[in-house]
Structure formats: structure tokens, C-alpha cells
């Protein structure tokens, strides 16, 4: 198999209309009943972006409320007057966690890219894949139904006994999260089985791109942790209906048990979110540094290590909540342990950049933004893992800032990065690079403006989730709100030029960036069956022989990648 795969099309030509997965079949039904992993990935992307917009709007409401110490939007003499604020931050949290961060990269880009990177025709269970998408939609509708029918004010963590006593459609939101969990489990099963059974000849485990290793580690967490969330949410639903007395203290239950159950899932869940983001990082850094990734095996194995250790550290969410001091000390030590594999990854990315020939295309700008923001988010995580510091800053804005630096600055920045990196492959169009870079810079500045003041006010004692605050915190809150509105502006800008590119953007070549993994060897957009002939599999990050070709405006391989 020494062929050069871009041969499918003569130089300068693009796939004809009807040859690619987007135009091969027409009509709404051809999308609704598609079994093509690429179309399902695109449908996930639409749903996730819609949820991202919704969660973003609710974030704007939170920040608008906090412009004034007494509250700009919701205020009054009774505590009930502030209840809508609780509902707003619950929707923001639940939507962003369950509908955006968890499915974002694995379900949208994992589905689209995984078989392409592996050299397979599809995922192992295409029908299950479609089921999983519709379960996602169902879960989304249930969760949004809870907004329509009055709103839930428990926070996205649903802590008992408040969640069993408060009025409102708690059951609707919780069953939405339960159904979304099933969707996540099915995606995880699909990915693991695909990587085990559909690797073509030559694609060994250690030739898989690092994004696939990240997806593999993610899928392990999805399979092992999500069912525990499932039973926790079921218990909560039954507790509300039948008063089981397991997690509701009024009937002899133990609320701390609920917290243990909840965090046994929800802590590993942050690795469901961040591991795929780290996988995208490995791809982008190698591609735009034009060199083989540094420390391939270390990055691959650190994903597995993070997934493993990530299961043993849930107790750090409950340091001041009545755990024994011994348990606290053990959880604290284990939490610090998880920073080691994360740091291994960061150093390997830095080493890949070192002496590389850097190309500051938009995805690379986002990758560098990720590095800086994730470093701050990760290091402040160590503060929180330290018992004495955590007792001081627990449930303050310090925690909010840490979490957003990791989740928004880490995961969402890499999600936007993945949108830009695979946009030409998904849509067959190129966006405007200048606007892309401006958008990235704007987003980075706005992000820091939003969340850095929150570190400061957190250390000074501003508690999280409060609808009102003392006047001395106002300047921090105003800066934070201005930053948040700027982030919304950056998001609108990015959406604008991406939508414009769909209609007016130049056609994308098969390999616009000089990527060395298999998805860049098939056309943009790819044909329905991905590969007409099984692709030649070499080393994943071999950039030798990838050269710029004026005629196609992309990169072509001038020597076969035989894996030597």
C-alpha cells in the first residue's frame, strides 16, 4: 500500500456535488435516519452549539444580576424575590455541564473524526449511535422542559435534602440528566468497541493518534462512572416521589451519602470533559509545529492515568462537609497525584513546540490560549486540593474561577479550537484566518477579564451562588460582567465568520493544515464511506514528506508514510 491517498481527485479538483457525505443524499429524512457517523457528528454539533448559546444567555443573566450589590434584575424584600436567580444559575450550570461540556468534544468531534482517524468506515454500532443521538435530544427536551415549567433552583448538583423539598420540576430536570447519561454511555461503548475491533491492518494501538487515546480514556470513564450517576438520579427521583429514606434526612436517609454518590460520577465527569480537549490539543500542537509529537507514549498513558486516578478523588468536593480527617487527608493526597499526568501532558506539548516551525493559524492560537488558561486553572486546583486552603476558599468565587479556567478556558476553548481545526473537513469550506485570530485574541482577553477578578474576590470571601453582595466587591463584579459580555461578543463574531464561510468561503483542500493523521487523507468533505481503499497506515505524526501544493492550496504527501 504505497499509494498516495490524495490521488482520488486530480490536482486542483474538489469532490463533485453528490460525492461527499453532505450532498450524497438529500432531504430532512436522510438526516433524521442517517447511520453515517459523520452526519451524526454534525447533528451533535448543532445540538451542542444550540445548548451552548442557551447556557451562554443564562450566564449573561447571572452577570447582569451581579452588576449591582442589591441585584440588577431580581431584587425585593423577601427571599422569594431572589429565587429566579437560583433558577438562572441552575439552568446555566446544568445546561453547560450536561448538554455542552460532556457531549461537546466526544459526541460531536469524536463521532465525526474517530472512524476517519482510525481508517474505518464507521463506528462499530451505527444504529446505537443514532439512538444515542436521539436519547441526547430527548434528554435535552426534558431538561429544557424544566425551564419552561417553572425552573429548578437546586443548583446543578441537586444536593439533598434541599432538592427533595423544594418545589418546581426537579424530577423533569433530573430525568433529563438521567437520559443524557444513557446517551453518553452508548457513545462510550461505541468508541471502545470501534477502537478494539475496527482498526485496519497496520493501525496498532501505538499508531493511533493521541485524540483517539484521549477518547478511549474518556469512554472508560463514561462507561464506569455514568451508571453511578444514573442510580443516584433515580434515587433522587424516587426519593421525591416515594420518600425512600436513603438520601433524604427527613425519612432517615443520609444526605452525605448522596454527595458521595453524586461526586463519584461528577468528579470523573470533569475528566470526561477535559480529556478529549487534551486530545485535540495533541493533534493541533503537532500539526502546527510541523513536527512529531514529543513523548507520544507518555501523553497516551497519562490519559489512562488521569482516567484511573480520577476515580479515586471525588471526596475533595466534600472536605468541610463532615468527612473524617483521615479520609480528607487521603483524598487531598490523591487529588494532588492527578496533577502529575496533567503536567506531563503540558510539558510534552511545550517540548513539541520547542524548535518546531510554528504556524499561527487560528486553531494554533486557540491551542496556545488553552495552554495559558489551563496552566492557571490546573495550578489553582492544587490550592483547592490543599486542605487548609480549601477550608478557607470552599464555596467562594475562588472555586468558581478555578472551575471556569479549567472548563471554559480549557474545555470550551479547545471545543472552539476543534471547530476551527476540523471545520474545513466537516464543511469543505475555509474561513477567514484574520477574523479567526482576532476572535481568538478577543475571547482570550475577555475570558481573563471575566474570571481573574473572581480569584481575587474569592480569596477575600465572596461566596458563590449569592444573588446579592457587599458593596466592596462591586468593582470585581463589574469587571467580571464586562468580560462576560465581551465573551458573548467574541462568540457572536466567531459564529458570524464561520456562517459566512459556509456560503462564501473558498473550497477547502483535503489537507489544508498539513495534518499527518488519516482524516486528512480523504477529501474535504469526506465521501460517505470515508475511504475508497483501506488507507496506508504509518506513524501518526510523521510530517516528513508533507509538502505545500500550490494547485490545491493544501498539503500533499510526496513520500509514502510506511511507518518506518
Amino acid at each position: 500500500m504505497a499509494s498516495i491517498p490524495v490521488e482520488h481527485f486530480p490536482h486542483g479538483a474538489f469532490p463533485a456535488r453528490g460525492d461527499d457525505y453532505l450532498s450524497c443524499r438529500r432531504g430532512l429524512l436522510s438526516w433524521a435516519f442517517t447511520l453515517d457517523h459523520k452526519r451524526i457528528g454534525v447533528m451533535y454539533l448543532f445540538a451542542v452549539l444550540a445548548a451552548f448559546l442557551l447556557g451562554g444567555i443564562f450566564a449573561m443573566l447571572i452577570r447582569a444580576q451581579l452588576l449591582k450589590p442589591d441585584g440588577l434584575l431580581f431584587h425585593g424584600a423577601t427571599t422569594g424575590a431572589y429565587r429566579p436567580y437560583n433558577q438562572v444559575f441552575t439552568v446555566h450550570g446544568a445546561v453547560m455541564i450536561f448538554l455542552v461540556l460532556i457531549p461537546g468534544i466526544p459526541a460531536a468531534f469524536g463521532n465525526f473524526v474517530l472512524p476517519l482517524m482510525l481508517g474505518a468506515k464507521d463506528v462499530a454500532f451505527p444504529r446505537l449511535n443514532l439512538w444515542s443521538y436521539y436519547l441526547f435530544v430527548l434528554g435535552m427536551l426534558l431538561a429544557l422542559g424544566s425551564v419552561v415549567f417553572g425552573g429548578v433552583d437546586t443548583g446543578w448538583t441537586f444536593y439533598t435534602p434541599y432538592s427533595t423539598e423544594t418545589s418546581g420540576p426537579v424530577i423533569l430536570l433530573v430525568s433529563g440528566a438521567f437520559v443524557l447519561g444513557f446517551s453518553s454511555i452508548f457513545t462510550g461503548i461505541n468508541f471502545i468497541v470501534t477502537m478494539h475491533t475496527l482498526r485496519p491492518r497496520g493501525m496498532t494501538w501505538f499508531r493511533m493518534p493521541l485524540f483517539l487515546w484521549a477518547l478511549y480514556a474518556t469512554a472508560i470513564i463514561q462507561i464506569i462512572a455514568t451508571p453511578v450517576l444514573g442510580i443516584t438520579l433515580l434515587l433522587l427521583i424516587f426519593e421525591r416521589i416515594f420518600h425512600l429514606g436513603i438520601v433524604d434526612s427527613r425519612y432517615g436517609g443520609d444526605p452525605i451519602l448522596f454527595q458521595h454518590f453524586f461526586w463519584f460520577y461528577s468528579h470523573p465527569a470533569v475528566y470526561i470533559m477535559i480529556l478529549p480537549a487534551m486530545g485535540v490539543m495533541s493533534e493541533v500542537v503537532s500539526t502546527f509545529a510541523r513536527r512529531e509529537i514529543f513523548g507520544y507514549r507518555f501523553i497516551a498513558m497519562s490519559s489512562v492515568a488521569i482516567a484511573t486516578i480520577g476515580f479515586l478523588i471525588w471526596g475533595h468536593h466534600m472536605f468541610p462537609n463532615g468527612q473524617s480527617p483521615l479520609l480528607n487527608a487521603i483524598f487531598s493526597a490523591l487529588t494532588m497525584l492527578v496533577s502529575i499526568p496533567s503536567a506531563i501532558k503540558v510539558w510534552n506539548w511545550l517540548a513539541t513546540l520547542f524548535k518546531g516551525s510554528l504556524d499561527f493559524k487560528t486553531p494554533m492560537c486557540y491551542a496556545l490560549a488553552f495552554m495559558s488558561l489551563f496552566a492557571i486553572g490546573g495550578l489553582t486546583g492544587l490550592y483547592l486540593a490543599t486542605l487548609v486552603v480549601d477550608v478557607h476558599v470552599h464555596d467562594t468565587y475562588f472555586l468558581v474561577a478555578h472551575f471556569h479556567y479549567v472548563m471554559n478556558g480549557g474545555v470550551m476553548i479547545m471545543f472552539i479550537c476543534a471547530v476551527h481545526y476540523w471545520w474545513p473537513k466537516m464543511t469543505g469550506r475555509l474561513y477567514n484566518e484574520t477574523w479567526g485570530r482576532i476572535g481568538c485574541l478577543l475571547w482570550w482577553i475577555a475570558f481573563n477579564l471575566t474570571f481573574f477578578p473572581q480569584f481575587l474576590m474569592g480569596t477575600q470571601g465572596m461566596p458563590r451562588r449569592y444573588a446579592t453582595y457587599l458593596p466592596e466587591y462591586q468593582s470585581y463584579h463589574v469587571w467580571s460582567s464586562v468580560g462576560a459580555f465581551m465573551q458573548m461578543g467574541a462568540a457572536v463574531l466567531v459564529a458570524g465568520y464561520l456562517i459566512y464561510s459556509l456560503y462564501r468561503g473558498p473550497r477547502a483542500p483535503a489537507n489544508p493544515w498539513g495534518g499527518s493523521t488519516l482524516e486528512w487523507t480523504c477529501a474535504s468533505p469526506p465521501p460517505p464511506d470515508n475511504f475508497k481503499t483501506p488507507p496506508a497506515v504509518g506513524r501518526p505524526y510523521d510530517h516528513r514528506g508533507l509538502e505545500w501544493d500550490e494547485k490545491t492550496g493544501g498539503y500533499v504527501r510526496t513520500n509514502p508514510n510506511t511507518g518506518q
Binding site: A120, K121, D122, A124, F125, P126, L128, I185, G188, I189, N190, I192, V193, T194, H196, T197, L198, I223, I224, A225, T226, P227, V228, G230, I231, T232, L234, L235, F238, F242, H243, L244, G245, I246, Y251, G252, G253, D254, L257, F261, K532, T533, P534
Partner: protein
Amino acid sequence: MTTASPHELAEHAHPRNLAHHFDTPAQQFAAGKLGIWLFLTTEVLLFSGLFCAYAVYRVNHPAIFEYAHLYLSKPLGATNTLVLIFSSFTMATAVWAAQTGRQKALVGLLAVTLLCGFVFMGIKFVEYKAKWEEGLLTGKWYRPEAPPEEAAIPKQDATQKAGAVPQQSTTVDARLLTGPMVLERSRTPAGAVGPTGISPQWLERGKPSETKWIAPEPYNVQTFFGIYFAMTGLHGVHVVAGMLVIGWVLLRARRGDFGPDYFSPVDFTGLYWHLVDLVWIFLFPLLYLIT
């Protein structure tokens, strides 16, 4: 393309039950097998949450479990255990019949397995109905009409037993009588301040009656029924789901879909059914056979 690649040739000779993205039936079977095992992993973890809750409460409040389990019917539970174990045997044999192409045996064995599912759910219904009628429900609906039969023994027997050598007495009622009267023998360290009152239920029922001495009822017995209904209920839902799938496989088997070349639906359904069976084998002793 002038010459067909081996890949394309393989596509032309595609067997009937082989999906387009697999190269060989063996590859497809391996994928399905791994998929079902991963799914079973998630099922084990789903139940593990409840087993974990069970362990926490059993360790912290053993008296509740020792008292409340007496309400459950051991004969019915044991019968259900035997029914499910037998159905697992018929299911495993059905897989063998599919692999060896024994069409009649396959249909018959699947039908027997499905029937066992109905028997199990029928017995479960009888048990649930009894609990409903006796007021043995969760939370505020826990209003038992009478203490469990085994907890109430004739008074004369009780005094005799109490006079016997206490260390050797092993039955629940005898132990409750010989030890100091405590409301709940919790292994959780005692709080700084004791309970300010005695449960009115206890005052009512702890009164020595003319004929019977009744074991005192611990606090929060409703928690046991919360756990009982959650565990057996979730298990029951899984039995019903299994029966639906077995019914579907049975219909396909009657149509003659399965044989030595293609039997994965039977095989995978069997694996699922064994798991459901296995969960019950843990549930039965944990809920019914407490000493």
C-alpha cells in the same frame, strides 16, 4: 479503478447478516460481544450504587435490617431464586441449541425461559401486593398493621427462653429478649445528647400484652423498605426488559433467523439474562436471609 481491491471483492461476497462496515462475520461477532460485555459492566455499576447504599445502612443500622427482614416471605423469595436459576439454565441451553442449529429446541427453550420470567414477576406481584396491604411501604406510608410474625412469640415461651442460657441463643427473638432493651443497636457512635423521647409506635407496641411479648421496633424501619423496593423494583424492571428482548428473540427464532452461522442475538440476550439472574442471587440473601 481497473482492478478490484481485495476489500471490494469481500464486499461483493457480503453475507446476509453482515453490516457493511465489517469485513468478516467474526469481526462483527467480536464487536457485538465486547459491546454487550461493556453494557453489562454499566449494569453492574448501576446496581452497585444500591448495593453500596445497602452496605452503608446495614453496617450503621443493623437492628433495622434484623427486624424488618422478618416481614419478607422466605418461601416466596426462595421459589423465585429457583425459578430464575432454572431460567438461566434454559437460556444457556438455548444458546447452545442456536449454535448447533437445533431449531425446535431453541424455540422451546426460549419459550420456557420467557415463562420463567412471567412466573418470577407473578410471585413478585404477590409479594408487593402483600406489602401494600400490610402498610409496609416507604417513608410516611410505612404504617405496619402488625409486627412481623416471627418477632411476636407466645409470652410463656419468651420467659422460658429468657431463662435459658443466653449466650447460646441465636434466634432473633431470643436475642432481642435477653439483651438490654435498646431501640436500635447502631454501630455509629452515640451522639452527645440522647433521644428526647420514645417512639410512640414503640410505646404502643412494646406494652406487654396478655398473650404475646412483642419485640421492640427500631427507629426508621421504613428505610429498609426504601432499600427493598428500590433494589427489587430496579431488578424487576430489568427482568421485564429481559422478557421483552427474549420475546423478540423468540419471534425471530420461530422465523428461523438463527443457526450456526448467526446466533449473536441469542448469545447476547443470554448474557444479559444471566446478569439479571446474578443480581437476584445477591439480592435474595441480602434482603431475605438476615441473621
